[in-house]
Symmetry: C2
Subunit: 208 residues, 2 copies
Amino acid sequence: MNEDLKAYAHLFENELLEEISEVGLQKHVAEGEKLMEIGQYVTAMPLLISGAIKILREDKEGDELLLYFLEKGDTCAMTLSCCMGQTKSEIRAIAELDTELIMIPIQKMEEWTAKYKSWRNFVFESYHTRLMEMLDTIDSIAFLNMDERLLKYLSDKVKITKDNVINSTHQDIAYELHTSRVVISRLLKALENRGKIQLHRNKIEVLF
Amino acid sequence: MNEDLKAYAHLFENELLEEISEVGLQKHVAEGEKLMEIGQYVTAMPLLISGAIKILREDKEGDELLLYFLEKGDTCAMTLSCCMGQTKSEIRAIAELDTELIMIPIQKMEEWTAKYKSWRNFVFESYHTRLMEMLDTIDSIAFLNMDERLLKYLSDKVKITKDNVINSTHQDIAYELHTSRVVISRLLKALENRGKIQLHRNKIEVLF
DNA sequence: TATACTTTGTAACCTTTGTTACTGCAAAAG
DNA sequence: CTTTTGCAGTAACAAAGGTTACAAAGTATA
């Protein structure tokens, strides 16, 4: 069995783990690399081994919005979803960190869903997690002000990267929160004055 | 077989339709009646026969936000999701119209998922549809101004009720879009001036 | 009919967010 | 070392949306 499948060992029965080792294609994605673009067809489903992927949405003007992150043990529910109907991707996926993943050809999806109970549970669990993440995203956009969203963004980022120094420019953050650089600079400065963060060039030190 | 299951006849094999007839509990919900409250445990999964259900989210201050509508042939992906983990409902469900539905005890879920391919497809399809609806909701909140959201709200409402007269007060609409009555009155008046709608007391005639 | 309540219209004002413009500074490139 | 480029800070202003207050009109009820 593939060593890197350890993360999934307690989830899947051995037979399934064997199958994954056989048909899964291991892949390394460097930080910043694009895994999936909007409108692209989905041919494989990613199982995350390590690292993190950020999932973004775009409007017709090309403005971005960060939806959520995928981490070890996650899969992309959008992919699951797209496999069924041969539909195009509705989202963009970019590696937030250097990431290891196993790509499963989508043909196996249906087969395993019939064959393995653990696979079905995994798929359902993934859908559930993703729906909850989407709800959380909606809560943030609908109910929070920009300063609260920014604070949440910073703490999410620290959690994902396990590093309380965030290597982003104000413009990067503005894109992901779908606002302007000036607004982010303003709010970051206010957070610094409140002692929550320390600003540096190209990086932000989170103190909370 | 239950006559009302016709909507599902082309989706499911006969054996499954029989089972649904046996264990499913038919239920009528009057317009405005609450089907599910936030924090409540989920014990059955609804299959919509006719009518429409609106799904709402609430923040900690008690402010609401309309997420999407369920219609004939839909089921509640949140319920599916909750069945697995015995978790509480994250959403509120209220009948938008008089609605007929069949309640399936959640114990059957897992059984049917293993047994019937058509059920698996239905469940996956439901998750897919719901994720897409959530994306659409996120797009609206994140990328549209309130006047555009209002226009979309009105046209969605007309589509769901199949009636171009909407029987709502401005306050009702304000709650569902998570804004204030004054803002809605203002924007509705602007829409009326642009000839898109005709305002009356307690109802809005949609002309587009 | 008189009264109370609900809904709508609207003005004035405030807060939040977005935009434009310009500055200084740090890092990279030459 | 100098020049160029990109990033951050900030002021001034604009726009969208939220709040308060009050009046007018419609509806229900005593």
